[in-house]
């Protein structure tokens, strides 16, 4: 069963930042900075992270839209960069993409039958029974009425448009479907329909999915394995149940706790006036545990720029856990905040977080029940062992 259809080894994608008269490359946007992944046949790997974490760049490299700076992408064991011209063309048939926004990823001037049939034209394929019949079949496969093939994208709702996008991606019978936020532009009520459709298609066609999303709730419903990205690196990876029920990285825990809970008794702001945030607060961790009983972790600020990622652990500037550790208190305060960012304040984090990049290491066994598959659950945090329950109050 565990037969990898897609392997990514140490993938790096840097975009040069050019400056000055000669447009010399002065630095680089480290969009993807050493990522390794394995996607098994017939399974779904969920790739989760905030905007700017590099998850979409990774998806684009995998489908061959962007060449990697270094590292390897292996499809069915074959290194993609060494493929011949014909091999690359075949690769494009094998790896297809479903885009985020069904409103902009479909050409408004092409009819649905032209959109879904275009891959045949590009690859010079005449499907058995003719293109028209093939398009009809594809539309039926994704739950659309083949009689609507002559219609244009604007005549469809968002969910239906996404189905058209999926039909187009399936036209060439790919092995791998890279889905980049396929449901984030859709209403909640429609998201489920598209997710369930993708699951049905996987069972029927034996597809493998790389499912990129920022919504952990959606990912859990479709993914078998989950990888969490932050600033171009994977910080936690493992089987779906392990990552969701036994999250070890403080970032994963923060993401999980940020998923909105449809429970009105969990108030976002204490109504009793118990906690009033002082004006101009400089403590970036005040959000942690602020809602009382449930202890939702609210990360302050945005991810740092991938041009100049923080030293050591990339997450240490926003980590809610590090300043609470005993190691942080006993050590002298780090350097003064830079003059242009006084908002960074004086956060004390353990020195090791500032100096050493944590490696992806297997979680320690026995920290939570059901840690049988321990070796497959890896976490990049110096203090991962000390986190037991993400919902405990800090």
């Amino acid at each position: 069963m565990a037969e990898p259809v897609l392997e990514v080894r140490d993938l790096v994608k840097h975009y040069p930042v050019r400056n000055g008269l000669l447009r010399r490359s002065v630095s680089a946007v480290k969009a993807v900075d050493g990522v390794s992944l394995t996607l098994d046949r017939g399974r779904t790997l969920g790739l989760v992270g905030e905007s700017g974490s590099g998850k979409s760049t990774l998806a684009r490299v995998l489908v061959g839209v962007e060449p990697p700076t270094s590292g390897q992408v292996l499809v069915d064991g074959e290194d993609v960069s060494r493929l011949s011209r014909a091999g690359r063309k075949q690769l494009r048939r094998d790896v297809q993409m479903v885009f985020q926004d069904p409103y902009t990823s479909l050409n408004p001037r092409m009819s649905v039958s032209e959109i879904v049939g275009e891959p045949f034209a590009i690859h010079g394929i005449s499907p058995a029974g003719g293109r028209r019949a093939a398009v009809g079949e594809l539309l039926e496969l994704v739950g659309l009425d083949p009689d609507h093939a002559a219609r244009y994208p604007h005549q469809f709702s968002g969910g239906q448009r996404q189905r058209v996008g999926i039909a187009r991606a399936l036209a060439l019978r790919p092995k791998i479907l890279v889905c980049d936020e396929p449901v984030s532009a859709l209403d909640v009520s429609v998201q489920g329909q598209v997710i369930n459709l993708l699951e049905d298609l996987q069972a029927e066609l034996g597809l493998s999915y790389l499912f990129v999303a920022h919504d952990l709730g959606v990912v859990r419903h479709i993914a078998h394995d989950v990888a969490v990205m932050y600033l171009g690196r994977i910080v936690e990876q493992g089987a779906e149940a392990e990552v969701y029920d036994g999250a070890q990285h403080p970032y994963t825990q923060a993401l999980l706790s940020a998923v909105p809970v449809p429970d009105p008794s969990v108030r976002l702001v204490a109504t009793g006036g118990a906690r009033v945030e002082p004006a101009g607060t400089t403590d970036p961790v005040t959000g942690a545990g602020a809602t009382g009983s449930v202890g939702a972790i609210v990360l302050e600020g945005d991810p740092p720029s991938p041009v100049d990622p923080p030293s050591g652990c990339p997450f240490h500037t926003r980590c809610w856990l590090a300043p609470t550790l005993p190691e942080a208190r006993t050590e002298p305060a780090s350097a003064q905040p830079p003059a242009d960012r006084p908002d960074l304040g004086l956060r004390q984090v353990p020195t090791v977080c500032e100096t050493d990049v944590p490696a992806l290491a297997p979680r320690s066994p026995g920290t939570s029940p059901g840690a049988a598959g321990g070796a497959s659950h890896v976490v990049a945090c110096h203090f991962a062992r000390e986190l037991v329950d993400p919902r405990v109050e800090v």
Binding site: Q160, V188, V190, I195, A258, D263, P264, V269, R341
Partner: protein, 364 residues
């Protein structure tokens, strides 16, 4: 701190004497029609809601349910193809919809502000953030440039944009998505409005940032005792901030109630289905879905507009438009079988169901 505390007390008082305080904004029986190639199409049909000081009203519905159009009508921002065909929107007792465009703007601009979904599209890319924050202040209050600049910094501080003093000089593209949405909120607050309408303020944002922005809105609302209207398609998002909920479907309000009972005991099958379809991080397996899709306003189904997608549909639903039933105090459900749904049981099979539905229809 004491201010916030007294505000919180006031809030509970309001809750107890349910009808005592006059609402800041009261929309009654609002209908909006669009002129299209397919003829007149009704986007909002008889919508009523109240926005009270210090309370948050969530208006929930799918795309095309009329939730945004109804707010645009209140603000007088409807496109030329749309007309308000019925209803009133009373702000401080004055019906905004009866005013001329100019008077409407003058009244609304001061007291009702709006935050839009897509902050990048709503902000002007060629002006600095500071300029846009104070445009309204300079135009309406005649503030000097220097005062306006000072106020802009205060506003950015208020919405917790770090390093506000330096950032007022920056342009929208230099801000991240979450920070841009904060700028939008700051500019909406510049004239100190009594009512803030936020249309999908967090839909384009990451979950982590979504939590920050919602918390900010809730804090500002509590502190200023504003009336806040949150428009969203996701019931999961507003559970923690709303006081009251109005669920819209096909241009109508189908359920209206205080927030807690909506989630614990929905009285309309649509609300129930929406709640089930929220993908949670603790559930696995197949997602329950609402089959089909919302009807096109140009081809509304007969009877209850939700009947083709309803899992508790009975004969009467196909023929009779359900009345606004009151299954419990303070609640409204536009369902023939509101009592049954509220009690968590399926309505009786057709024969008796018809009778019940008919008697309900007489009340409406």
């Amino acid at each position: 701190m004491s201010r916030t505390q007294s505000a919180a007390e006031e809030k509970t008082v309001h809750k107890d004497e349910s009808s005592a305080p006059p609402p800041l904004l009261e929309v009654t029986d609002l209908s909006v029609e669009f002129r299209t190639s397919a003829g007149q199409v009704r986007a909002v049909d008889g919508l009523s809601y109240r926005v009270e000081a210090g309370r948050t009203l969530a208006i929930v519905g799918e795309s095309g349910s009329g939730k945004s159009v109804s707010s645009l009508a209140v603000l007088g921002l409807l496109p030329d193809t749309a007309t308000v065909t019925a209803g009133t929107a009373r702000l401080d007792g004055v019906d905004l919809l009866a005013l001329s465009r100019k008077e409407h703007r003058a009244r609304c601009g001061d007291q009702v502000a709006m935050v839009f979904q897509d902050a990048l599209a709503a902000l002007n890319p060629v002006h600095t953030v500071g300029y846009q924050l104070t445009e309204a202040l300079r135009a309406r209050r005649g503030m000097s440039r220097a005062d306006a600049r000072k106020r802009a910094v205060e506003l950015l501080d208020l919405v917790k944009v770090p390093n506000a003093k330096a950032r007022v000089k920056e342009y929208p593209h230099e801000f991240s998505g979450g920070m841009r949405q904060r700028v939008m909120i700051a500019s909406a607050l510049s004239l100190d409005p009594a009512v803030l309408i936020a249309d999908e303020p967090t839909t384009a944002l990451d979950v982590t940032v979504q939590a920050q922005v919602l918390r900010l809105l809730a804090e500002i609302q509590a502190e200023r005792q504003m009336g806040l209207v949150l428009i969203t398609h996701d019931l999961g998002v507003v559970a923690g901030v709303a006081d009251d909920v109005t669920v819209m479907y096909a241009g109508r309000a189908v359920e209206q109630a205080p927030v807690v009972p909506v989630y614990t005991a929905p009285a309309h099958p649509y609300t129930r289905a929406l709640l089930r379809s929220i993908p949670s991080a603790s559930g696995t397996g197949r997602l329950p879905v609402i089959p089909g899709r919302p009807p096109s306003p140009a081809a509304m189904p007969s009877g209850c507009p939700f009947h083709p997608r309803c899992d508790a549909v009975r004969g009467v639903c196909r023929t009779e438009v359900p009345p606004h039933a009151v299954p419990a105090e303070g609640r409204m459900s536009a369902c023939h079988f509101a009592d049954d749904i509220l009690a968590g049981r399926d309505p009786a099979p057709d024969g008796s169901g018809n009778d019940r539905g008919d008697s309900g229809g007489d009340h409406g």
